[in-house]
Symmetry: C2
Subunit: 223 residues, 2 copies
């Protein structure tokens, strides 16, 4: 992670509108590619062509990030990338565990997605004695019976839920007991834990597949 | 799949507003659970409590589905489920291949998500000679060099893209050559193929993880 300039004052999320926030992960992705490619500056016009968003939208979205993006000069790519990353939480040092060492849990253990966003994965948890005690892509697999204690001892922030729907309630209970503050939920059931102060992000891959099928059907009708 | 009543006239997507369509996969999930549990009828009030949506929203969303949902009578669960499923495309008989037999491709090969939505998976494709010729969760793994021909011969509709970003362009080209009309894109790059008449659904798990981190950060500040 590159250092921010010394005169950088961290933005608070309250400074930025929720609509802009929602678009920031996508900006961050494109800016990350530019950083990797060694780009120092980019104009809103070029970013607009890359992202398929109007240049005026980009200027509106990004100009609140501390006056970068001067006319005829463009954005300073690394600074913009770091500022957006920090705003989104990549410098919070969040720690995560993956619960469920099945196909999806193993796939998530294999990606670099977490560390690239500043989230440290500590371990996997499962109930299957055949996988407990093994290592999956460098992560140890522990028994779900140890989940609460482990989360408390290691100050785990995030639980990634990849267990079957039927097991989800018990695992969520253990995660909350362990002091986890966020759940990334792939368990194909909806969770809402606001009243317990736990942030949830539900992933419904099946809904996405249905959207694809529906749009294919519509596009087929209008051809 | 249950038969629809004989007097059923298939709804065309054009009859339903895009905002309602976007919410339909979620209705379908809840209704599917009710069908599995053997429920015949449900009131908008009960569905409202289950789903955390107002009853009036539910009535507005679902009352265009052919006059089910009479006062004091509720919705006929199996009919509503079947109508929504058909509208979303589950009876189109779509055929899919998964390209990339890595961790994510294997995880997608293992789920029942596709067949539950009427999509038939035919095969996996990869470039690794160690996996070509093997079977993953009952699906044969073929060489990517055969992708176009296979898609054409088997009238494949959907390509599920789980290859690394760098390989995506070539695979997309082969899928389009093979006549595929829809791409479910997990390749962590954005695709837009409207001008080629190909429907794309992009999945960005990393953006979802960033949303979680951001919301945790905000919830931490406001505690």
């Amino acid at each position: 992670m590159k250092q921010l300039p010394l005169d950088h004052t961290p933005l608070l999320p309250v400074d930025v509108s929720p609509a802009v926030i929602k678009r920031l992960p996508r900006y961050r992705r494109y800016l990350g590619d530019l950083v990797s490619a060694g780009r120092e500056r980019i104009s809103s016009a070029e970013l607009s062509r890359m992202m398929g968003v109007t240049a005026s939208q980009i200027r509106q979205d990004l100009n609140c990030f501390g006056g970068f993006g001067q006319q005829g000069y463009g954005y300073h790519v690394p600074t913009l990338y770091d500022t957006i990353s920090e705003l989104l939480g990549t410098t919070e040092g969040y720690r995560a565990v993956i619960v469920g060492a099945g196909n999806l849990g193993r796939a998530l253990a294999a990606t670099h997605m977490f560390e690239r966003r500043g989230v440290n994965r500590l371990a996997l948890f499962d109930i299957d004695p055949r996988v407990i005690g093994t290592t999956v892509h460098g992560l140890p697999v522990y028994s779900v019976s140890q989940l609460s204690d482990f989360c408390r001892e290691h100050a785990v922030d995030i639980g990634v839920l990849t267990v079957p729907k039927e097991a989800a309630d018990e695992v969520v209970h253990a995660l909350i007991q362990g002091g986890v503050r966020g759940i990334w939920n792939f368990a194909n059931m909806e969770l809402s834990l606001q009243e317990q102060g736990v942030t949830v992000e539900n992933i419904h891959l099946g809904d996405s597949l249905m959207n694809l099928c529906y749009n294919m059907k519509v596009n087929g009708l209008t051809k």
